[in-house]
């Protein structure tokens, strides 16, 4: 293991990409590392002809990934839309890793993202010394991706202010970035495209203008359909976390994952798994991603403070943290859930005690 905390997708899965490339004999769009079907195969996982096992990156509907990849082969940009924690950023990272071999061209959208971080900025020392020259220009990931013919990712597009968002229109429709100061422009090389992600839960988001929306194909990533699918996702991600973080703790039993996932699903859907009892829904999203981080923090707790075995007590703190986002409302909802649902389940006794101890 290297000293890097978290490797990029193309580093972590370099071998898979390499094998896929070897096996790939489909026609590739220009500047693509893999052919479109191979990109889908990389995302969905499977066994290659030579028996090499590709791990699934996205667990869910294959058709969605096909639409996403097909979109990137056209000159339209891709907008991944969905609740927080539905693997939007994860998918976009792997898409760009598989297509361009580089997932680092990324702009994180925030309320403070300025037009300079999307188009280009200036190195003011140079600007003052040399005047406006190419050397004084600071290229953004967008500009570099255009020059290199790669995929650029824009995370949380709707968090960016509307005026800054609209800077993308020219880039997406003209595929060029004018630099009036130098009386020149950057024209995108083939292979350039944009993957944006946005979530539809946040308050205070900046809706895309219809001019911009028109330039994106939208793919909505849903929350997992079935509990088995969700458990599978959590299991894989927790295992890979353990690999990355080099935790000494024992791998969590499927049983523990199932409990956390069940709990999250129940609270999210407002009804118990057997469909018999109605439950109040807390204000948090309780996505699959949060279930994963609860498992991970439980693992860390077990590794550093416990005996290396994941127990209910290790998980309880994480669960409570994920559920209670609003100190007043959610606390009541959680207490009700603990007393009416968790308590009644015989095999959840340890979890009940752990939750009670913390409350």
């Amino acid at each position: 293991m290297s000293a890097i905390l978290r490797g990029h997708a193309e580093q972590l899965y370099a071998q898979e990409l390499e094998e896929l490339k070897k096996q790939d004999n489909g026609s590739r769009p220009e500047n693509w590392l893999l052919s479109p079907p191979a990109v889908v195969a990389y995302l969905m996982g499977g066994t290659l002809k030579n028996g090499f096992e590709v791990s699934p990156k996205y667990i869910g509907n294959r058709r969605l990934m096909e639409i996403a990849v097909a979109t990137l082969t056209t000159d339209r940009a891709l907008l991944l839309y969905g609740l927080p924690g539905t693997a939007k950023s994860w998918v976009s990272e792997h898409l760009s890793a598989a297509i361009s071999g580089d997932s680092t061209m990324m702009v994180q959208g925030t309320a403070g993202t300025s037009e300079e971080s999307i188009r280009y900025g200036w190195n003011y020392a140079r600007l003052l010394a040399e005047g406006p020259t190419e050397n004084a220009l600071v290229a953004t990931p967008v500009m570099r991706a255009m020059q290199l013919g790669k995929i650029v990712r824009i995370e949380e597009l709707t968090r960016i202010g509307a005026d800054v968002q609209d800077a993308l229109i020219t880039i997406l429709s003209e595929k060029s970035l004018p630099i009036p100061e130098l009386n020149t422009e950057v024209q995108a090389v083939r292979g350039f495209n944009v993957i944006a992600t946005a979530n539809n839960r946040d308050k205070g988001v900046n809706e895309l203008s219809s001019a911009l929306k028109r330039r994106f194909n939208t793919v909505i990533l849903p929350v997992p359909d079935s509990i088995e699918e969700e458990i599978n996702i959590v299991k894989r991600r927790v295992e890979s976390y353990e690999k990355v973080m080099q935790l000494p703790a024992e791998l969590p039993a499927l049983q523990e994952i199932r409990r956390v996932v069940t709990m999250f699903r129940e609270l999210r859907n407002g009804v118990t798994a057997d469909g018999k009892t109605k439950i109040k829904t807390p204000s948090g999203t309780l996505s699959t991603a949060e279930a994963i981080s609860v498992m991970n923090s439980g693992l860390s707790m077990a590794a550093y403070f416990g005996d290396g075995r994941l127990t209910a007590a290790d998980l309880a703190a994480g669960i409570i943290g994920a559920v209670i986002k609003d100190p007043m409302q959610d606390k009541l909802i959680w207490q009700e859930y603990v007393e009416t649902v968790i308590k009644t389940r015989d095999e959840w006794k340890d979890l009940y005690r752990a939750c009670r101890d913390l409350a």
């Binding site: 058709r63 096909e66 082969t73 056209t74 907008l79 028109r214 909505i220």
Partner: protein
């Protein structure tokens, strides 16, 4: 004879095109199609100009209408194209499946056998019905062996594989040979379950082919489901088939054409050989070379119609995405799935709601077919069609709303027509609640279902016109009915249907039943409804007098036996009876006829004074009399004191009070005399007795509105405070010293001079 077997998929546009092309190059002199030979005589209508698919052949057993089968055809059904080709080129065309006459007879035999076995264990009648409706769709269409081939080719289901292999194929060299070969393998690997029926059917098909050969035809084209193709090419010995088909039972069967809908053709409606997307097939039939552009333009037009901004650029992008998706999946052409996904992603911005709209309007695209008016059909059917045309009420596949103004002649007739159909059990129109006031408006939602055809044939027994059939059918139902409520329900429906004869029968029937029944409560249940019916006379020009007469005679009957019915009732019965009294009283007020009102009031008097009557009913009768303003002042006080006097047990006093105050406390609020009586009664109760009656009192008061209760409470408070000394309330807030100070100002304003004291 050269026999060319064309294995097809039912309702496949590609198959239909292949069949058409094949027939045009082959130029056969006879065409044989998989279908019921019983319907051969009506095939001549297929190329009639007025025949517009989707239509269906309806085969039914006239004496047992539960046995019926529909054979639907769309424009893109290969069978339809084959028949059409034969008719247009004037060559003979024949159906060659096992005749429905035999199928029904066989099914009946099996059913009887099963019933026998069942009867031995458990007697049941409902199963026959269920089984009969279950077998309605053709059994041959349900099995999908193609799924095995599809799985081998890496497709998720057989439909999709077939579509891409055969339906969307542009180049069709030797496609039928390929199909036959594929099916041959499948038949060997996966024999069907229902072997006997299958064998019979295929034997009959071969028999028809041999017959054609015997008749010296030279080239025969045989169109059948792909599955049967191999069985028709490798002919076994003639004798085997003939032995199999010997002595088949037979029943009488009739056939006709009826209009069908695309909705009924789709899988969602439960049709076994259904297709998912009739509208899409319709499109591919008409535009086989469309790469999705025309389809997307249609989608865009629909979205624009629904006020969704959709530009041409959107359409371009959607088509592009669909094509790249098809390329990604290794398909030669974008299918409906790719187009749908592109639509969702580009045009709908990922919003699946809009896709639902597209599914309903474009992909299923519900339309109804037409059949020529001169096709011989049951007289009732033609009468209905004529009336529909006359009243401008076309039968449509999608629902349509009508608001009828019964003061207009045409609308009145429409309403009568729809009511009559309802009486006949054809719920074409659904009567809905109207917004706004007035009895002259009716709101209807009309949606035609092809199955009505069978109901129409069934009800044809009762008469040749809608009016006649409805009258006779109601007549029949009235004879069968044995409860007053049911007959009155019929009457309520028959009145707006303007069926004087039926109404007369019903009234007669009601009269008889009313005379025979000893149950006053049943009579009371019916009267309010009848009074409502009588009220309709105004708008509908019906003879309401008849109903009024019978109503009054029934009310007299009630008046006579009601007092006896009010005695010795328990809590629940008394509650129910007061409810009935309320409705009766309402109805009588609505009628406003002194001949009825007087005896009714007299009855109420009797009940109110009757010793043995149940206290609650007694109390309510008193209350009604007070409402009629017949008991007032002294007399009412007298009744009340009597009802609440010491001699009664507290419980019966409370029950009386509950009856008396039922429904509204306003009465109590506004009558000070009454208030004092009750107040006095309550205050003189000993604590023990008070506790005993409290629940009853509570129940009475809980029925009042919150406002009434609040006011009653306020009033009770005031009365209590007033009780000991009569203090002057207005003086409480009055300070003479301060008031004096204001006096001079007032005097000055008035201009009066007074010497200061």
């Amino acid at each position: 004879m050269a026999t060319h077997v064309l294995g097809i998929r039912h309702h496949g546009p590609g198959s239909a095109r292949n069949v058409r092309r094949f027939l045009e190059t082959l130029q056969p002199d006879i065409v044989l199609v998989e279908g019921p030979p019983d319907a051969d005589p009506i095939l001549q209508w297929v190329n009639n100009a007025a025949m517009k698919p989707p239509v269906a052949i309806l085969c039914f057993q006239p004496d047992q209408l539960l046995h019926s089968v529909f054979y639907p055809f769309a424009e893109f059904s290969p069978e339809w194209q084959a028949i059409l080709y034969a008719r247009q080129h004037n060559i003979p065309v024949r159906f060659m499946d096992l005749p429905v006459a035999h199928v029904f007879a066989l099914e009946q035999q099996w059913q009887e056998k099963r019933d026998h076995e069942k009867a031995a264990s458990t007697p049941s009648t409902s199963i026959t019905h269920a089984a009969a409706t279950d077998t309605a769709p053709l059994p041959a269409f349900t099995h999908d062996p193609v799924a095995h081939l599809a799985r081998a080719a890496g497709f998720s289901d057989g439909e999709k594989w077939w579509e891409h292999m055969f339906e969307f194929r542009q180049d069709n060299e030797q496609v039928f040979e390929a199909v036959t070969e594929a099916m041959q393998v499948l038949r060997e690997a996966y024999p069907k379950k229902d072997a006997y029926m299958e064998r019979l059917r295929e034997a009959w098909m071969r028999k028809t082919i041999r017959q054609a050969e015997k008749e010296m035809y030279t080239t025969a084209a045989v169109i059948c489901g792909a599955w049967h193709a191999p069985a028709l090419q490798n002919m076994p010995k003639q004798k085997e088939d003939n032995d199999l088909l010997k002595n088949l039972p037979k029943v009488k069967v009739e056939c006709t054409w009826i209009p069908w809908t695309y909705n009924r053709l789709s899988f969602d409606s439960g049709y076994g050989a259904g297709i998912h997307s009739p509208g899409w097939y319709h499109h591919t039939w008409h535009y086989p070379a469309d790469d999705g552009t025309r389809w997307m333009a249609k989608v865009a037009a629909l979205l624009r119609e629904k006020q969704m901004d959709t530009s041409v650029a959107h359409v371009i992008e959607a088509v592009r995405l669909a094509e790249s998706l098809a390329a990604l999946r290794g398909l030669s052409k974008a299918g409906l799935e790719e187009l749908n996904e592109a639509t969702l992603s580009v045009l709908c911005h990922g919003e699946p709601m809009l896709l639902e709209l597209i599914h309903n309007t474009l992909i299923v695209s519900d339309t109804i077919g037409e059949v020529p008016t001169d096709i011989p059909k049951p007289p009732l059917q033609s009468d209905i069609e004529k009336t529909q045309k006359r009243l401008r009420l076309p039968a449509t596949a999608d629902f349509k709303d009508y608001t009828l103004d019964l003061r207009k002649e045409n609308d009145l007739e429409r309403s009568i027509f729809l009511h009559r159909l309802q009486l006949l059990g054809i719920p074409w129109g659904e009567n809905q609640a109207v917004a706004g006031k007035g009895t002259f408006k009716e709101q209807w939602r009309l949606q035609w279902e092809p199955e009505y055809a069978i109901t129409i044939i069934e009800k044809g027994n009762w008469g040749n016109t809608v009016q006649e059939a409805a009258t006779q059918y109601v007549h029949h139902q009235a004879q069968e009915a044995n409860s007053l409520t049911m007959v009155c329900g019929l009457l309520a429906n028959a009145m707006p249907a303007a069926l004087p004869q039926a109404v007369e029968t019903l009234i007669h029937c009601i009269n008889n039943l009313a005379a025979a029944t000893g149950d006053v409560l049943q009579l009371m249940e019916v009267v309010p409804g009848l009074v409502n019916v009588a009220r309709y006379g105004n708008v509908r020009n019906t003879d309401a007098d008849m109903v009024t007469n019978i109503t009054s005679s029934m009310i007299i009957r009630i008046c006579i036996s009601l007092p006896a019915a009010c005695t010795a009732l328990d809590e629940t019965a008394a509650q129910a009876l007061t409810g009935q009294l309320y409705k009766m009283d309402d109805a009588i007020r609505l009628l406003q006829q002194s001949a009825i009102t007087e005896p009714w009031q007299q009855t109420l008097y009797t009940i109110a004074r009757q010793d043995s009557a149940t206290p609650m009913v007694k109390g309510y009768a008193t209350r009604l009399l007070a409402d009629h303003q017949l008991l007032q002042g002294e007399a009412l006080m007298q009744c009340f004191y009597f009802g609440m006097s010491h001699a009664q047990t507290p419980a019966s006093s409370a029950a009386w009070l509950e009856g008396f105050l039922k429904g509204s406390g306003t009465f109590l609020l506004l009558d000070p005399q009454l208030w004092h009586v009750i107040h006095h009664w309550v205050s003189q109760l000993t604590p023990a007795v008070f506790e005993e009656v409290l629940p009853l009192l509570r129940r009475t008061f809980s029925h009042f509105t919150p406002a009434e209760r609040r006011k009653l409470g306020e009033k009770a408070k005031q009365t209590n405070r007033q009780a000991p000394p009569t203090t002057n309330q207005e003086n409480d807030a009055f300070d003479p010293a301060r008031a004096w100070r204001g006096v001079p100002v007032v005097l000055q304003l008035l201009g009066i001079q007074i010497n200061k004291p």
